[in-house]
Symmetry: C2
Subunit: 313 residues, 2 copies
């Protein structure tokens, strides 16, 4: 379901590093060469390139990239080149330090990764920032958001397929009661969303739909401007339909006056190796335009070329 | 700091299994032989014995032990023989399913283990119970206890030595305010206790002592029967002085009418390979009686022999 394309015969890490070094040298940076290498290597290949580069040239590849390129292109290349866990830790740290209600990055990292991926992010966070992710989230967020986000980023959900239908029924009822009372941040709502396994949660939400005649998320639209309700909807969508969730994040980033490059970059670099094919299908279905074409129409230059390469063009 | 004694020349796992099989066979079980083997092997040696045993005899060692021995002796041998993470997952599950306020087992597992040990417990919990630890804790506890225990068992604390003294000062002040207002389960109290690194937390508690003239825990004794206050004190003691904390659990288990065998077994099997030497020193200092002698005076038979062997006699 990934859109990453890797050449049939991959050059050795040392050859890749030599080419990258060439791209950085001379009179101007050769951005096309950088893209032709890094945008076509998977996570473990990129990791090898990074370690080989620092062995050969005594400098971090990310540092060289940082010196040579800039702007949205730089951000896309550097985020992409990082290890997924490290990249998520960076994104989470940014989201926490510049915390504003409604920022969905922490929810994506907590709910649209596997349990072991989320744990790897928490380990990377220790290494990079000398603090824990939940510690920073708890210290920088407040109110209902804190109540929701701290358990979400701390969770280590069971990932088996087992479903307890009796539990699904009783918890669908609890959710319905609390939502009907507009107790959106009630501890039981948060407990159910932040601790149950994905399979159990989906069963509960299906049960909610069967029993009460409309989807849980439909009940969270009473105030379209309420950022907490939007966060709850994002949690549910990251579990139930991540491809449609990310297609929408991309659409919102592209639509309107000015592109939200950070959001667009985030969707593409974090999903290219995961489910970008599905996101592209969802995007096309919803918008009647291929995502590649929408991205090409809204971005330009090396940044455009980098994103389009990751989208598998 | 462990009291485990392992022979200089350790028999092969196959030899150990053969001896154990002998101990199980014949007219009666040879409990002394079981103790002489299992109570003198470390965690990785026991793991090898378990896997070798099931390969040779087509039966789990724990199942054979379960068939052959009983009572407190059985519980001690089986808990000891398990992997530490698996053992903690079992103890946590028991504590959760028979939840009563004031049960300190979850606090010990959350606060007197390293971050990676706690994470291993959470992984073992998935494997054994097909649910997550935090999911069960959230579903079976209520009120202030839930507010405290869910973040504690979900934490993955940073373990570096870095301390932010400004933060220690400001959080000591927050703790003092909340405790003075008797807001013991205030979200900031729980946030500080459940997310900060051990080094940072100890700095904050020292700062509390310096600034306000007495120790944080002394402020949590307003009602000696309040189980939530006892839980907060246990959190602090598991971080600051685990050896004195466990010495006290052992003392309370031994003292009074009837021994609390479950608590005594738990302290000994969970700490023998960790810090039992320090616990014995703390016990002697506080009670003027060696822990071994107190245990021998209060237990009997094979159970006594097993505990005494683990205590390094």
């Amino acid at each position: 379901m990934a859109t990453l394309t890797v050449p049939v015969t991959v050059p050795s890490p040392a050859e890749d590093c030599e080419q990258l070094r060439k791209a950085f040298g001379g009179w101007g940076t050769n951005e096309a060469l950088i893209i032709s290498i890094l945008a076509h290597r998977n996570a473990s290949q990129r990791r090898l390139i990074r370690s080989t580069y620092s062995q050969i040239y005594g400098e971090e590849l990310l540092k060289s990239l940082n010196d040579e390129i800039s702007g949205d292109f730089e951000r896309a290349v550097i985020l992409w080149t990082r290890d997924p866990a490290e990249r998520d830790a960076m994104l989470a740290n940014e989201a926490v330090l510049r915390w504003k209600p409604g920022n969905p990055v922490l929810i994506e990292i907590a709910c649209a990764r596997t349990s072991s991926e989320l744990f790897a992010v928490r380990q990377a966070y220790h290494t990079l920032f000398k603090r824990s992710l939940e510690e920073d989230v708890a210290a920088h967020t407040t109110g209902s958001f804190r109540k929701l986000l701290v358990p979400l980023v701390s969770s280590h959900r069971y990932e088996g397929p087992e479903v307890n239908m009796k539990l699904a029924k009783s918890e669908a009822k609890i959710l319905h009661e609390k939502i009907s009372d507009k107790a959106y941040d009630h501890e039981d709502v948060i407990r159910i969303l932040s601790t149950r396994s994905k399979a159990q949660l989906i069963a509960t939400l299906n049960q909610f739909n069967n029993e009460f005649g409309n989807a849980f998320n439909k009940n969270l639209k009473s105030d379209p401007k309420d950022e907490f309700l939007a966060s709850l909807r994002a949690v549910v969508r990251c579990f139930c339909c991540p491809e449609r969730y990310f297609a929408k994040v991309a659409r919102v980033a592209i639509e309107g006056l000015g592109t939200d490059e950070n959001a667009l970059t985030r969707v593409i670099v974090t999903r290219t190796e995961v489910d970008m094919k599905l996101i592209k299908e969802a995007y096309l279905k919803r918008n009647s335009v291929p995502l590649d074409r929408a991205v090409a129409g809204d971005t330009s230059g090396d940044y455009e070329n980098m994103l389009i390469a990751l989208l598998g063009a």
